[in-house]
């Protein structure tokens, strides 16, 4: 195998952050090279440099032995580099072909050659097993389909080195398997794939070699077959990682949240929740398992006052909070870790300290009369940043400049600092590294031990199983059954997730 890419001594400084510190990285033709590292380790930055989006502060890049200056994505594309970004770079308002040919000289006379392009897209789909309909609007596609469009887009431009930045973070297990199929197709035909992930199982399953980044430095590059998951985790975090969280047995207390025959519609006006009844008590975690899009979002929104229930009652303790305002529900002791930290959890263009007081800014001690008390806000923020180990140079950074894991920690800091009665957590560890996942899990368990009731929504069955006292399976807006964790049978949960009802309810 020949070396197609060599990045030598790459250093990238952002104001206050050394994102890449003298990193060396290489890739051979036809291999899958995994790039592993904690949140904020500098993986995306390194790849953005390779793709010409950032300029390195120092360092050199060689492609097939030739030194190149990748000054823009255009240069990267011309050199056969393609990148599928962590946050997709597609335009929802345009069709698949339009997205694919965007920026290319794809024309017939003066006009866009849509039909030729569509035919070529179909060709590529067939060749690599990437099912996409070229004429659909990207905004109407599922996440898995969008990702395939991104890959087609790169291949269409003749990419033979493909960077996939956390491609599986948003995929269902089935979609991940399909993606792996595509990756194998690609490497079989001589393409090189750089695969970024936090998920050790996936790295083990798909990659030939792994490079581990830690705090901006490349710690090691090894053949995947020669290392265990545990060793990789240790490289990544710099210490032992516990894969299984201890869930000490606790006696549940009084009911905290009770839903009584709740019904609600989704954004399209279709019934999304059907007759949902459940109860969570103090010191108890209720996990909601199910395939994404079966009413989980609507359930959480109804509880948090973000969506109207058309029927039924929501009780917090003995207070009826059906369709109450989010502020009232928050003030009654509910904390919410929302599903999308960028769109809903944070105001990305505001500073960390502003984000940390979004719930309480209007109350003393953060405001006095009509004015904000900045000193108090700053002290409070510094305290939380320290306590929750948010990696940041200072509290005046904009939230968008934090890495994904640190953004999640910031939300946890805000939500948990108020000592909530009820914690509603939706996909709390999506896109996080093992260290951060362990941290979030421990925090959730701490809340449980403190006496809070926890509603945990996740599509990751392992997460549900390791944290929940009881597990409710949701399918098309209906609770198919609620099981106590000790009597769970995975096969049964799988069936319930596919719509088979359980008769006896725990």
């Amino acid at each position: 195998m020949s070396t197609v890419l060599e990045m030598k001594n790459i250093t990238k400084k952002f104001p206050g952050v050394l994102a890449n510190d003298n990193v060396c990285f290489s890739a051979d033709s036809g291999e899958v090279h995994a790039l592993l590292g904690e949140n904020g380790a500098g993986k995306t930055t390194l790849m953005n440099i390779l793709y010409g989006l950032y300029q390195p502060t120092s360092g050199e890049i060689y492609l097939k032995g030739r030194k190149v200056e990748i000054t823009s994505p255009k240069v990267a594309i011309e050199n056969g580099i393609g990148m599928v970004h962590q946050h997709f770079m597609l335009i929802p308002a345009l069709s698949v072909v339009e997205n694919v040919i965007l920026g290319m000289r794809q024309r017939r006379g003066a006009f866009l050659a849509i039909d030729e392009a569509a035919a070529k897209v179909k060709d590529l789909s067939a060749r690599y097993g990437l099912a996409v309909d070229p004429h659909r609007k990207v905004g109407d596609l599922s996440v898995g389909e969008r990702q395939r469009v991104e890959i087609v887009k790169a291949l269409y431009r003749g990419a033979d080195l493909l960077i996939l930045d956390e491609p599986t973070a948003v995929l269902t297990p089935q979609e991940t398997d399909e993606l792996f199929g595509v990756i194998r197709h690609l490497t079989a035909q001589g393409h090189t794939v750089i695969f970024i992930s936090h998920k050790l199982n996936e790295v083990k399953a798909i990659s030939d070699r792994v490079t581990v980044l830690r705090q901006g430095r490349a710690v090691t590059t090894v053949k995947t077959s020669r290392v265990s998951k545990e060793e990789l985790a240790r490289f990544m975090v710099g210490k032992e990682v516990l894969f299984d969280i201890e869930r000490e047995p606790l006696e549940p207390g009084a009911p905290v949240l009770r839903l009584d025959q709740i019904e609600a519609d989704n954004d399209l006006g279709l019934r999304a929740l059907k007759n949902v009844s459940l109860e969570i008590r103090q010191r108890e975690v209720l996990g909601i398992a199910g395939v994404d899009g079966n009413g989980q979002r609507e359930l959480v929104e109804v509880i948090c006052g973000l969506r109207k229930a058309s029927r039924g009652t929501v009780w917090l303790g003995d207070i009826d909070v059906t369709n109450a305002s989010p502020r009232r529900i928050t003030e009654l002791g509910t904390a919410h870790i929302p599903e999308d930290r960028q769109a809903r959890g944070l105001v990305l263009t505001m500073t960390l300290k502003e984000n940390l007081v979004l719930h309480d800014y209007y109350r003393p001690p953060f405001s006095r009369g009509h004015f904000l008390n900045w000193k108090e806000i700053r002290d409070h923020s510094r305290r939380l940043i320290r306590e929750f180990d948010v990696r940041t140079p200072h509290e005046d950074l904009l939230a968008k400049n934090l890495s994904g894991g640190n953004q999640q920690k910031l939300i946890l800091a805000r939500e948990l600092s108020s000592q909530p009665q009820l914690l509603v957590a939706m996909h709390p560890t999506r896109g996080l590294d093992v260290g951060a996942i362990e941290y979030v899990h421990r925090k959730i368990m701490e809340q449980r031990a403190r006496g809070a009731a926890v509603l945990l929504v996740s599509t990751d069955l392992d997460e549900i199983l390791s944290l929940s006292d009881r597990i409710a399976v949701i399918y098309e807006g209906e609770i198919m059954g609620i099981l106590a964790n000790h009597q769970v049978d995975i096969g049964e949960i799988g069936l319930m997730m596919a719509g088979v009802k359980k008769t006896a309810v725990a």
Partner: protein, 311 residues
Amino acid sequence: MGNEGLLNFIVSFLATDLRCATPILIAALGLVFIERSGVVNIGVEGTMLIGSLLGVVGSYMFGSVWWGVLTAVAATALIGALFAYFTVTLGADQVVTGTAINILGMGVTTTLNRLIFGLDKSIPPIDTFKVISIPVLSKIPVLGSVLFQQMLPVYVAFLLVPVAHVVLFRTPFGLTVRSVGEHPKAADTVGINVWKIRYATVIGGSCLAGLAGCYLSLGVLSFFIENMVAGRGFIALAAVIFGKYTPLGALLAALLFGAGEALQYRFQALGSGIPYQFMLMIPYVLTVAVLAGFVGKSTPPASSGVPYTKE
């Protein structure tokens, strides 16, 4: 009014509508491209005004209406470049910069007008647009005289509609413009120079605003009056929104708003006893009413008004 009277009324009303719609349409077509690339340019009003004056100045100094048009377009291209420099390169707030352009347009045209033509009322004769009758077509009964006896800018405006439509939706350039307005970062990652595209639409759109302006001073009238654009730039902005950011939509909207203005002339001519100030309000009230009834039904490009910066 007999049958013939009614027919005459309708014909002359339509002819007036076309003439009134023309400046709005030309400016709106430019704005469609500017807005589609993600830039909000409320400075069109001032840009049009500069076009109006410079058209007259060019025609006066060089003795031909074509020199007038050229002068106006060149000047407004510069204004567009200035606007783009502030909003695209420096990332300044677009509404603030647009307002500054409007104030600048007002100030510069007033001053220059007084400097060049003086304060006295005598208006020097200048070369202006002539009515062009299209042979054969203009002889079609009734409609011929409405559609085919107009000045050049009217024909240009209406011919530009299908051209703009095709460019926006069928050419690589149009696709690029739309992508830059929707998701500039995505455009950047496929090698499109977001800034270049925005400069192109802003400068091109400003040239059209300049052309619209000189149609007012070299076509509708044959001299410059202070603040003669009188809100047509803003109406063009409204036409773009009402027309859902498409050239065809802008055409319909411009015809509608043009009809408002034509109606106002009619009413004034009819002499109904209502104070004329109320008549003058018609186009503006119509614009506000149409937009108010239309709120939320027209979606601007996703990155409208947001400067693009890397890192």
